[in-house]
């Protein structure tokens, strides 16, 4: 097995350029690659596109902030494709002022679009969103009498993901509910950078319990 480069968070952040579409793992901040995101924030880039479940948590009243929220505050993104923005007041403000384009996607559809990109599918058919604003501009197909929307694959340039454990070849094991979108994004992006808490030697992970095989991972960050 080939060992993958182990980068610092700053080196990983250098791989992101203006105009890049980044897919970032995490569910309201749980399972986001916080070290890489902090290094990315330090670069103060703009005009990035974000694919993520949500825009994380920013509550000015309590001061609670996590995940991609500091990048939202820094106006790193010109476009976000997410399922939920309700826990980040700044996202709503930038959307209302026209600074940020927000594309809201039902969460299950978002997961399937990312999965479809990684699995080489031309799209997926889902009943979710039929008869709602979500169906606007989409092909509707009837299969066995039920209506479905054709939802298209969602690829990314760079995946910034978080795992609990890796071996030096890049096999990944995620932890608890911090798994969420991370393994899907690892398959849907051209370059995949995995921030991990622990790196072990090749052969020390049980192949039966690997969530994301090494072939999807280009760089590790510890």
């Amino acid at each position: 097995m080939v060992e993958k480069p182990i980068l610092t968070a700053a080196q990983a952040a250098e791989l992101v350029q203006e105009g890049t579409t980044v897919q970032v793992g995490g569910f309201l901040g749980c399972g986001s690659p916080d070290k890489i995101l902090a290094a990315l924030l330090a670069r103060h880039l703009h005009n990035l596109t974000l694919v993520c479940n949500d825009t994380a948590v920013y509550d000015p009243r309590t001061g609670r902030i996590n995940g991609v929220a500091p990048l939202i505050l820094d106006k790193a993104f010109s476009r976000v494709i997410v399922s939920h923005i309700g826990t980040n007041a700044e996202t709503q403000r930038q959307m209302n002022s026209g600074e940020l384009c927000v594309e809201l996607v039902p969460q299950g559809t978002l997961a399937e679009r990312i999965r479809a990109a990684g699995y080489g599918l031309g799209g997926i058919l889902t009943p979710t969103g039929v008869g709602t604003e979500v169906e606007q501009g989409k092909q509707k197909l009837v299969v066995d009498g039920r209506a479905y929307l054709l939802e298209l694959p969602l690829k990314g340039d760079i995946a910034l993901i978080k795992a609990k454990k890796a071996d030096k070849s890049g096999n990944l094991i995620f932890s608890k509910s911090a798994r969420n979108f991370n393994p899907l994004m690892a398959m849907a992006c051209t370059v995949v950078i995995a921030e991990v808490e622990e790196i072990v030697e090749i052969g020390q992970l049980d192949p039966d319990f690997i969530h994301t095989p090494s072939l999807f991972v280009d760089y590790l960050v510890q």
């Binding site: 749980c30 949500d54 948590v57 969460q107 997961a111 008869g131 609990k164």
Partner: protein
């Protein structure tokens, strides 16, 4: 329309949560939405064991951890610290929505902005005012076997949230099975609400008089029991 009146807000929510918890039987897989629906988990009757599914990738979600026992890698769908019960399982988001969309969840309980007598639900957007996004709600409402809409009966303005026809953007079309409010329990049936139960101190007459929707009082309509 008669003047609407409500008792304490928190108290009303507790009544709604306690009644919804009585829908379940042992073994049911249940997804509880954020806010009022989350309270339902506190009132599962003794002797009934449900399996809570959380769309962020958990089956067998447990109660909140003791202070100091929080795990940064384990939250509920509202980003609060959570636990998992023995026998539970974790999975990724595509798998989680396979459970949801695939019809493997028995009940989903969701909040309401508007619900109408056709079973349409609006709960994710007030154009120009509040746009939190749908999160997993659209998939849950389409995919779960039974959809329970949980809501206080009236808006702060005094308008009933049960409508003839929703005016807000829809979360899903004709998917709601039951609506439980602090006034009563309703089943959505062929273009009307069937009133199954009412909560004291209200009455079917009061409910009919304060709600601009087609409501039929079930022949066996009765006062709701909570314990």
């Amino acid at each position: 329309m008669v003047q609407t009146e409500t008792i304490g807000y928190a108290e009303n929510k507790e009544i709604i949560a306690r009644r919804i918890a009585r829908f379940f039987k042992t073994g049911d897989v249940v997804n509880l939405g954020i806010g009022l629906p989350t309270l339902v988990g506190n009132y599962i009757p003794k002797g009934v064991t449900v399996i809570l599914q959380s769309e962020n990738g958990v089956l067998g979600l447990g109660p909140s951890p003791e202070p100091g026992m929080e795990d940064k890698d384990l939250t509920n769908a509202g980003s609060l610290p959570a636990t998992i019960l023995p026998g539970g399982a974790f999975f990724d988001s595509a798998f989680s929505f396979g459970i949801i969309r695939g019809g493997h969840v028995d009940f989903t309980v969701l909040g309401v902005l508007e619900v109408d007598q056709e079973g349409n639900l609006a709960n994710y957007k007030i154009p120009g005012k509040m746009i939190p996004g749908m999160g997993g709600a659209m998939d849950l409402v389409v995919g779960a076997k039974k959809v329970i809409a949980a809501t206080t009966h009236f808006e702060k303005s005094g308008q009933a949230k049960l409508k003839r026809s929703c005016s807000l953007p829809l979360t899903a079309v004709k998917e709601v099975d039951f609506v439980v409010t602090d006034l009563g329990v309703f089943e959505v049936q062929d273009g009307h609400f069937l009133l199954l139960e009412w909560f004291a101190p209200y009455s079917p007459e009061y409910i009919l008089a304060t709600c601009d929707a087609d409501i039929v009082v079930a022949p066996d309509c009765k006062q709701a029991e909570l314990d």
